[in-house]
């Protein structure tokens, strides 16, 4: 029996690492699979090529399967996310000029979300007063973790992301050039494109995803519901292979090998030295400042691969908050059911790897690492707090959405 070919699309970013490692380190082969990884240029292509069956699965923005099922996208294919590909990994970088203004307004050192947010608020207020144009900030896609964490951070800092700044879409790899050329003033993107700006001396990383919301979800493995129902054994084998690859990727002993693997011209095409920054959390913030962030990018620990339905519902709450989706009990149910912890749990049963027994949790409830009982052993979660101290209880979705509609005063 030969290997079963599986075609998987990915966008060249650090968190595609677990898929690339699954192929390169033999985890896929051990499950009888041959991964054909196809590099894609845009998230729209990823979404559409999964929908029409060119890709069996893909590296996807975590909110993307939700937006497909909520009817926000061109194609009607039903999508699911049976697994997450890691926690954290993004950061917000601004131009040197904006950083200079933020620094004078009290920002830095480090990447504290509160401090940076308050400084940015002062900068924006000063710019409005002297008639400077609004700051233009880029994210990678309207339905992306980047867009939601940036807006969440701005809003909690007293900045209205709809009026006080302009938020535009720029592909990840183009963002450093756009920043250098002055077309944008800052961006929220996944690695390596914050480190790239620091290395080029064109910007300063002001806060990280892990500082805005600790242990927050980023990419998922997305596929069509139809495909998952048709090939349950294949899907199970894929989830096991990718989970083993995630564990391998999260092991500090393998980081250098992983960085070299990803650096290749046909993969990310970014130097392994820059990739090591994000893998180790030893960040180069820019302007000569370095900072060690312990939970910058987590490929496996803290149940990083578990598709929490509370994550799906938080993304849904943000879609409602920013006017992309309308809130109804039916829509909330569609969102929650897009994430499939049941499939993940079933695939990993008997592997000796701990998987949470609950499908959802209160986000922001854990202030320190907490052990919990899980299928297959003990598991340590969190801390998972939002920087502004709020919590998200998925059982109290209506109240959360109502509270979020109170935007900062102008």
């Amino acid at each position: 029996m030969g290997l079963t070919p599986i075609t998987i699309g990915y966008v060249p970013l650090l968190d595609a690492a677990v898929l690339i490692a699954a192929q390169e380190q033999g985890f896929a082969e051990a499950e009888g699979l041959e991964f054909d990884l196809v590099r894609e240029t845009s998230w729209a292509n990823i979404r559409d090529r999964v929908a029409i069956g060119h890709f069996d699965l893909a590296h996807m923005l975590a909110p993307m399967p939700l937006s497909a099922n909520l009817g926000l996208t061109p194609l009607d294919a039903q999508m699911i996310a049976p697994m997450a590909l890691g926690l954290g990994g993004n950061a917000v970088t601004v131009s040197n000029a904006v950083w200079e203004q933020m620094r004078r307004a009290g920002a830095g050192p480090g990447v504290d979300a509160w401090q940076a947010g308050l400084a940015l608020k002062r900068v924006i207020a000063a710019r409005a007063k002297n008639g400077s144009p609004r700051l233009r900030l880029a994210v990678v896609h309207p339905e992306s973790g980047h867009n939601y964490e940036l807006r969440y951070w701005l809003a909690a800092s007293g900045i209205d992301p709809r009026h006080d700044v302009e938020i535009v879409i720029v592909p990840p790899s183009f963002q450093p050039d756009a920043l250098a050329a002055g077309r944008i003033d800052g961006y929220c993107v996944g690695e390596p494109f914050n480190s790239v700006a620091a290395a080029r001396g064109i910007g300063r990383t002001v806060t990280t995803k892990s500082s805005i919301w600790r242990s927050s979800p980023e990419k998922v493995l997305g596929t069509r519901l139809q495909w998952a129902e048709r090939y349950p054994e294949r899907l199970g084998a894929i989830l096991r292979a990718v989970t083993r690859a995630a564990r391998w990727s999260g092991d500090p002993a393998n980081r250098e090998a992983l960085a070299r693997m990803l650096a290749r011209e046909d993969r990310l095409g970014v130097s392994d030295a820059i990739l090591m920054r994000a893998l180790t959390g030893d960040l180069m913030l820019g302007r000569g400042e370095n900072l060690k962030v312990d939970d910058f990018f987590i490929p496996y620990e803290r149940a990083a691969n578990f598709p929490w339905q509370s994550h799906a519902l938080w993304f849904y709450a943000q879609m409602v908050r920013w006017g992309q989706a309308s809130h109804s009990a039916g829509n909330a149910q569609i969102a929650a059911r897009t994430y499939r912890p049941d499939l993940y749990r079933a695939a990993l049963a008997g592997m000796g790897m701990a998987v949470p027994s609950a499908n959802a949790k209160i986000e922001g409830a854990l202030v320190e690492p907490t052990a919990l009982g899980a299928q297959g052993g003990m598991l340590t979660l969190g801390p998972d707090g939002f920087f502004d101290g709020t919590q998200f209880d998925p059982d109290d979705l209506d109240a959360y959405i109502a509270a979020q509609s109170d935007l900062p005063a102008q």
């Binding site: 240029t41 845009s42 998230w43 729209a44 292509n45 559409d48 090529r49 029409i52 069956g53 060119h54 009817g71 061109p74 194609l75 009607d76 990678v140 896609h141 309207p142 535009v168 879409i169 720029v170 592909p171 790899s173 183009f174 077309r183």
Partner: protein, 195 residues
């Protein structure tokens, strides 16, 4: 009537864009707009109000473009052209051709299909043109290399032009390689031996 459709072609490759544009015009579509610079789309989307947008799938700015459409409400719910549910074959063909087109919701398939077909065939024509050009270019370079290698052999070994060519050809046959490759190796080697 197809003539009433406003078609927007977004392509940073000017030559390809003009080939697609010509094809659409020849097919009787009068309202064809071509934009080669993505940042221009945001400014002009309102005035063009396209019924159909044709964009290369490989364009990484697709995400940006979708966002412009959503912002301007120019395309309420863009449908990828290759999403003809009844006909997965044409979807595959469109994607293979690298064409991704967006049409407004409700635009009937009969009106859209000729545009898609045209875009695909022009896209393929462009690909063919590019391949032929690349072939012609490499052919010219090969000929230049062979001329140069002959010159080196004539100078260093005192051979006639015919003898030099025969030697190159014989060596290529013996080594089961192309004459141009042998010529290139010879030029490289001669370069290394120069004082």
């Amino acid at each position: 009537m197809p003539q009433t459709l406003s078609i927007l072609v977004v392509d940073d490759n000017r030559i390809r864009a003009s080939i697609i544009e010509d094809g659409l015009r020849e097919a009787g579509h009068a309202h064809v707009h071509v934009i080669t610079e993505i940042n221009e789309v945001a400014a002009r989307i309102g005035e063009i109000a396209p019924d159909v947008v044709i964009i290369d799938l490989e364009n990484p700015n697709r995400d940006m473009l979708e966002h412009f459409f959503a912002l301007s409400r120019a395309l309420q719910r863009p449908i990828a052209m290759f999403v003809d549910k009844a006909d997965p074959g044409s979807i595959e063909a469109a994607v293979d051709a690298g064409v991704s087109a967006y049409v407004v919701d409700g635009l009937r398939k009969e009106r859209v299909k000729p545009i898609l077909d045209m875009a695909i065939s022009r896209f393929r024509a462009f690909s063919r043109l590019r391949e032929e050009l690349a072939e012609a270019k490499s052919e010219l370079e090969n000929r230049k290399a062979i001329e140069k290698a002959k010159g080196i052999l004539m100078r260093t070994r005192g051979l006639s032009e015919d003898e030099a060519y025969a030697l190159l050809r014989r060596t290529a046959m013996n080594q089961n390689r192309k004459i141009a490759e042998i010529a290139q190796s010879l030029i490289t080697a001669a370069g290394l031996l120069e004082p």
